[in-house]
Each structure stands twice: as C-alpha cells, then as structure tokens.
Symmetry: C2
Subunit: 391 residues, 2 copies
C-alpha cells in the first residue's frame, strides 16, 4: 500500500509516458516538486517505477542540474487480451504502455471443445504467448477476454446454450484477474481509442452481428449486457414483432445466405453459377461484385440498405455521429458503405452519421481487449499490485 494519496494520479500519468521528469509530473498533477519526488520514491519502492539515468543522449543541451527521470518498470507487469471467438482464439500480450510484445492465433472448434475445453485452450494459448516473450503467468496484471455473447456488469451472460458455451468461465482457468467482455464492445473500445469520438457505434459484422455503442463517451451495457443487440431490424422491416434468425447474422453470413438462396431464382447471368451452390461464400460475392457481376451487386445493395437503416436508427435514437464497420470483413466492405451513403437523405435536416470501415481488420477485438485492460489498470492502478521487484 502506498503512503501518498496522490499516487494514483501520478501513476496514471506514468502509465502513459515513456520517461518523465518530476517537472513534467508537476505540471500534470499540480503538485509540488517535493511531493512528486516523494510519491515517485514510493512508486519505485512499490515496484511500479524505476529511475533511468540515461541522461547524456537525449537530454540534449539543457542548462541547470539534470532532472531525475523515471520510467515504468519494464517488469512491473503485462496485460493480456484474448479474442475468444467461436472458431478461433487470438491473444496479444502487451506491456503497460500498450506496446505489443507477443501474439498468437489458433483455430478451434468450440462445439467440440465445450466450455472446459475453451477455458483450457485459452490458458494454453496465453501461456505459449507468454513463453514466446519470456514472461511468466505471474507477470500478468489483468486479462481481458472478448466473447460473442452479451455480458452483464458481473461478466455473466443470459441463459442460452451458445452464450453459455462462449462465456466459458474463463476466470477460473486463467491466471490473475480476468475480465470478460462482449466482443463488439471491445471492438468499440478499440475504435474509440484509435479515433476518439464520444458518440460512435462499432458494428462487428462478420459471421455474427453485434454492436458496441459509445454514447456520451461511455460504453452502453444494459442490465443483461444486451445493449447493442440488433434483432429489432427484421422486426420492424417485416412489420411483425417476432424476430427471425436473420437478426443475429452478420453481413458475411447474410451475403452467403442470400447468394445461395437466391441464385436459383435469379434470371440473369452471374459468375457465381460457376461455383457449387453450397460452396458460395461471402468472399465470392464481394469479389464478383467488384468484377461487375450484377447478381452480386444486388446483394451488396441489399446489405447497403440494411446498413443505411441501422445508421438512421442509431443516429436518430442515440445521436450517433460515426458508424464503424469492424471485423475481418471490413477490408471489403467499402462498396456496401458507398451504397448505404447514397441512400441516406442528405437534405432532410437530419444529422447523419459518417460510415467508415475499420482499419484494424480482424484484430479489432484483441486490440480492444488490450485497450480495455490498459484503461482499467490506468483507472485504478493500485488495485493491481505490480510484480515484486526482482534482482
């Protein structure tokens, strides 16, 4: 336990800087030099900081007594991000300044593994990633896990076989503190860190569909973790109130399903007929559309219309300024965005959201997990004891 009250504020500052001097910390925290140095002493003793004396090179041509410079201790700890999807796991281990130290990816079959298997597999992959970079499980201050299921404030998911399988009780399998979060919410955190906007929605829409909503700078959750579910779309458009299964499908799944189900009744010509009907997938549709195939272009247009509806609802109901399409599909999504933009009425007086594709690719969720872990460590650093000093 640290003695000084203001240690939190200073530690928060230290967690964002490479190296810093007492003078810089004084400017940020508003404390006196004496106090800052006192707190720094305490943080060094606790194992958070170390004094760095590489004065000559970068200090340049300063007059006066050189300042003591502090730095987050390299071995104070690391954070782990895990994207625990249905078909693959991705890990990233990062230091407390957010630098990526190691990463691994592995395909899995959740329905074969079961809950326990997912938990064990996660631990295994994390341990391997830690070994890659020469770190021990004890070094991990916090692990954030993204899963495709609603997550409430306690990390629990509603009933439902799939959701309970995805939210596999990681806390009991992994070392140290574990936080479980919805994958789309983590994607939103990643996008929010990458391009700060207090009001944006991040649609994670590959195979499944989920949205992370940031309103007034805050991630929405809901008592059952259900904020960001989009099943209402089919409800409204079909003017009935019972959602069908399509509501949970992402754009990738929809492109595949629509292509397979409509290709037979399509009267025109299409390159997709070269493939067996049961093997057409989303990438084929997007590729065909790029090559000018009109059957594929029609599917793109339907996706665009769907996105436009989502954008209107989010902008109207939540005053969302920016809608980001994230996930692996984001690389190919631009034609869908184009069509959606053309549908949005420019002259209605309504403020309309910008539609953009994520640049973080398939790694949004893990990156968001790391970002979320860092945010939590920064918010209350003293809740995470640093790895004790070693020789």
């Amino acid at each position: 336990m640290l003695r000084q009250i203001n240690s939190d504020a200073l530690l928060r500052f230290a967690l964002q800087e490479q190296v810093f001097t007492a003078g810089e910390a004084m400017a940020v925290t508003g404390l006196t030099r004496a106090t800052v140095l006192g707190v720094c002493d305490g943080l060094v003793a606790a194992g958070w900081l170390e004094e760095v004396d590489g004065s000559p090179a970068e200090s340049g041509t300063h007059k006066g007594r050189p300042a003591r410079r502090y730095q987050l201790r390299e071995s104070a700890g690391v954070v782990v991000g895990l994207d625990a999807g249905e078909t693959h796991f991705t890990t990233i281990v990062a230091d407390l300044r957010g630098r990526e130290l190691g990463t691994r990816r592995r395909n899995i079959d959740s329905h074969v593994l079961g809950r326990a298997g997912r938990g064990a597999g996660a631990r295994e992959l994390i341990d391997l990633t830690l070994r890659d970079i020469g770190r021990a499980p004890d070094d991990v201050l916090l692990t954030v896990v993204g899963v495709p299921a609603p997550i409430d404030a306690n990390g629990m998911s509603p009933e439902g076989e799939f959701w309970q399988l995805m939210n596999s009780g990681f806390a009991s399998h992994l070392h140290g503190m574990v936080v479980v979060e919805n994958d789309a919410n983590l994607a939103a955190v990643a996008e929010g860190a990458h391009e700060p906007s207090a009001n944006q929605a991040t649609l994670l829409t590959g195979e499944r569909f989920g949205a992370g909503l940031i309103v007034d700078g805050r991630l929405l959750r809901g008592p059952r973790g259900g904020a960001g579910e989009m099943r209402f779309l089919d409800v409204l458009s079909a003017s009935k109130l019972v959602p069908d299964e399509g509501g949970a499908d992402g754009f990738g799944a929809l492109a595949r399903k629509w292509a397979r189900s409509r290709i037979r009744s399509y009267s025109g010509d299409t390159v997709l007929r070269q493939l067996p009907e049961g093997e057409i997938n989303a990438e084929d549709v997007f590729r065909a559309a790029r090559e000018g195939d009109s059957f594929a272009a029609d599917i793109i247009a339907r996706l665009g219309a769907r996105l436009a509806r989502i954008a209107v609802v989010l902008s109207s109901l939540l005053d969302i300024e920016r809608v980001v399409i994230a996930g692996g599909i984001s690389r190919a999504i631009e034609p869908v965005l184009d069509h959606a933009r053309s549908l949005l009425p420019g002259d209605s007086g309504l403020p309309l959201p910008a539609l953009v594709a994520s640049t973080l690719g398939a790694e949004v969720v893990v990156k968001g997990a790391i970002e979320s872990a860092l945010t939590r460590v920064r918010r209350e650093p003293n809740a995470f004891l640093p790895r004790a000093a070693r020789s």
Copy 2:
C-alpha cells in the same frame, strides 16, 4: 470556502436527512466523531446547517449524554423547477430536501411572446411563486428549466426556428444559476427518482414526442442533445429513409390526426361523427374507445402497435427494462398499453420491457426539474453557496 476536505460528503448526507446526529454522520462518512463535529461547525458557520436542540420529545429513552443534532438550515436556499412548454409554463419551488413549497401554472402562447417574451414570462412566474411563499429571488440556488427541444451538454439547441424559440436563453433572464434541459429527459429523471430502475425509457408523448433514455443508470444525451429522438419509426416502417412529419408527433397528436383524416373513409358507424370533423381531439377518441366505439378502438390499436414497435427497439438495442408513458395523456393511456402488451411476443426468448403509465401526470417535467436541481446541488454542494445567515 470551507476548511475541511470532507465537507462535501457530509453535506451530501445532510441534504438527504431531516435531522441527524454526529454518530449517524460518522456511520455514513466513515470519519471520526471529532472530524464530523469539526466539519459540522464549518457548515454551520457557512450557513448550510443549524443546530437543533429539540431533544426531549423524539429522543425518547436514550441512555448517555444526548447527541447534538443538526439540520439543514431552512433558509439556506431553495431550488426552482420550470416546465417551459410551448403552450404553458409550470413552476415549482422546493426546499433543499425536496419538499414542494409553492407552485404556479400559466398558459402562454410562445409564438406571440417570442424568445424574449418567454424569458420574461418565466422570470415573472418564478418571482410570483417565490413571493407566494415569502422567498426572495436571492434564495434560489439553482433553476432547472425543461424545454421541448434537444439540449446539448452546454444547454444549447440545434438550429431550427422552433427549437431556438423554445430554448429561449433563460439563463440571461433568471436569477442565479440556470440549467436548461430537454423536457423528456427531465421526465425520465422524475420517473427514475420515483421508481428507480437503471434502464428505463420515459416517453413524453402528449402533443409532441420525446424520449428520455436512462441506460446503466445514466441519462443519454448525445453531442447535439439528440438522444431519444424517435423519427426513425416512420423511416423503418415505411421502408424509406426520409422521415415524414409524423415522427415528432406524440400519441395525443396522432390520435387526433388519425381520427380526423380517417373518419370520412371509415365505413362503419362511430360516435365521433357527432362532432365536427375539425374539432375531434385526442380526448374524444380515448373516450369513445372506452365506450366501445370500434373506429376509436382501431386508432387505439394503431397507437398500441406503434408503442410495441418502440418497446421492441428499445429493449433490443438498449436492453431497456421498463418503458414509462408520461405526460398529461398518461392517465388515459392504459388501453394503448394493453394492446401493445398483447402484441409483444411472450415466447420469443427476448427479454421484453414492462409497459407502464406514469403516475405523475402532467407535472412530470417540473418534478423532474426539481429532482434534477436537487441532484446537482447534492453532487457538488459547495458549488452553490448557501444564502448567508440572517438574523
């Protein structure tokens, strides 16, 4: 300026209690008796508290030395709530414990008054209400004004003649600190205080339509104050993307408009034909429905369907647990709720929100304004200096 650091926490406690002893404050704040008494001394000196010595009656049969008892000073100040609607103003003056001291209501014509007229009228009505209870304008610590317009974090509204007229620059007309807020948001605050639920939507739906959304215990606003706008409804149901004017209409306005526009083409019999077509209003429709008129019942059903759609969207997208219909119309709204409930699918596995009518009637907005004012004063009491002690 108070000396003690912990005065805020103790003052917050004092603002919620009738009378309290040092021992009670110790339990709540976790401070020592010596500290609590020291802070109380300071608060008495500053004019916030007064010591009350009515020990005999209620102290009952306590052993030991009787405790000193403190109380919020009656004349420390009051808060003012103002519902500055389009057609009427309503004021409430309340003391710092939320007891209503005085209230007034006045019909106005905003389009005749203009911005300056609304501001002057508001000041006049507030001053009259203060005079009613023998208080001076200087006693007002904070005035919260509810207006039918989107309000951003700075109290400003987007461009638009109507919105700029409603948000009439009250800050420059009224005494002391003024906070302007959207009327539906204040209704949500009132409902939230009346029946706490961390996730509920309050639909203020008489003539105009607005929603106050509370998600994760927090009121949503949006960068332009646009959170809670519902214009998307017509967008989705009509499968087009440009909203028509109906989107901003409340249930009262819709009942009237639908009745007037459809009564001619209605083939059956209806009691509403006894009225001139241009004079049918919402109350007539609701009354006719209660009496079994099938034309009116059809309109009720359409309103119910609209509400059901809203409920599904709010529940799906924001995990809303409870939808409250507020405003003057809430007394008659039960049939609409009934029909909406019958439309919600009970077996879809979706968590569905409860639909309830507000019990606060036409006063929701003012009551929310008072509640909001009290919350703000409680959050940082020392930002509001108490009225200086008088003899």
